[in-house]
């Protein structure tokens, strides 16, 4: 491969919206499918990284997700967004690799019972818009480090609900959890992440 960023996509296709690209890809337009891949690959890689916490598995899961999406494209009925459909495929690919690498150790299917005290310990003002203190790349790095420290059972629920914005019911179904289990894990994940972000964002109140 001669170029680090080969971009075979004609500019006429780049501006098309998702459903037009999907329709074109379904009728055999390879450039349209490649554009969908280019559009979503960073997000899908972040998703599979967040699930597997292993770069090799994440890359593998991402590749497989795109290849499966291509293979099953004719079966995509369009009752959800293409991206949401792709997320479901990528989540399953990620979970499969996570379970394979850590059998028994990671049981996101089982109820997590904990007596942990939920009460926040660090309570400080973050100012009106704390993320403005950081450049996008730096911020993305902080978020990645912070979320890596969460246990998988909390991390994956948070990723699906609050980053990918799936519904509680869809998250429960994908992870084979009950709705109350998803809600309980989501609350814990949000509180833990808030606590971890506090040290980065506190004191950003303008004087």
């Amino acid at each position: 491969m001669s170029s680090a960023h080969p971009n075979p996509i004609p500019s006429s296709v780049v501006k098309e919206d998702e459903s037009q690209l999907v329709a074109a890809a379904k009728s055999g337009d390879a450039a349209a499918f490649t554009e969908l891949v280019n559009r979503y690959s960073s997000k899908i890689f972040r998703l599979t990284r967040n699930i597997t916490q292993n770069r090799e598995d994440a890359e593998d899961a991402m590749q497989e997700a795109f290849l499966k999406a291509y293979e099953h494209l004719q079966g995509f009925q369009g009752d959800s967004r293409f991206y949401t459909w792709l997320v479901r495929i990528a989540v399953n690919e990620g979970l499969m690799r996570l379970r394979k690498r850590r059998p028994g150790q990671v049981s996101i299917d089982d109820p997590v019972e904990t007596d942990e005290d939920l009460m926040p310990r660090e309570i400080e003002d973050w100012g009106p818009s704390p993320e403005q203190q950081y450049a996008q790349t730096e911020l993305a790095q902080i978020l990645s480090e912070v979320i890596d420290k969460l246990d998988p059972e909390y991390r994956i629920v948070f990723v699906l609900r609050d980053i990918e914005e799936l519904s509680t019911e869809d998250t429960a179904q994908l992870l084979r959890l009950s709705v109350p289990a998803v809600k309980s894990r989501l609350l814990r994940a949000r509180l833990r992440l808030r606590e971890k972000l506090n040290r980065h964002f506190k004191g950003s109140v303008p004087n």
């Binding site: 890359e59 993305a140 978020l143």
Partner: protein, 77 residues
Amino acid sequence: MNCRGLIRELSNYLDGELDAGLKAELERHLEHCDDCRMVVDTTRKTIHVFCHTEPIPLPDEVRTRLQRALEHRLQKS
């Protein structure tokens, strides 16, 4: 409602899933509890920052391998 009760309902409150009575009770607590107000605000910002930050771009070598895998698959069809 006390602080502990508020934390239990925090997610439901942020997701707009509380019934009107419980929501009013929670908001009455917020009116006089600075700490809980700050926790609600910073938790809302936590969700927002994760949801709205663009991911790190795909590393070049990962992008190249993905394109190779796709080209290989596309050529087969």
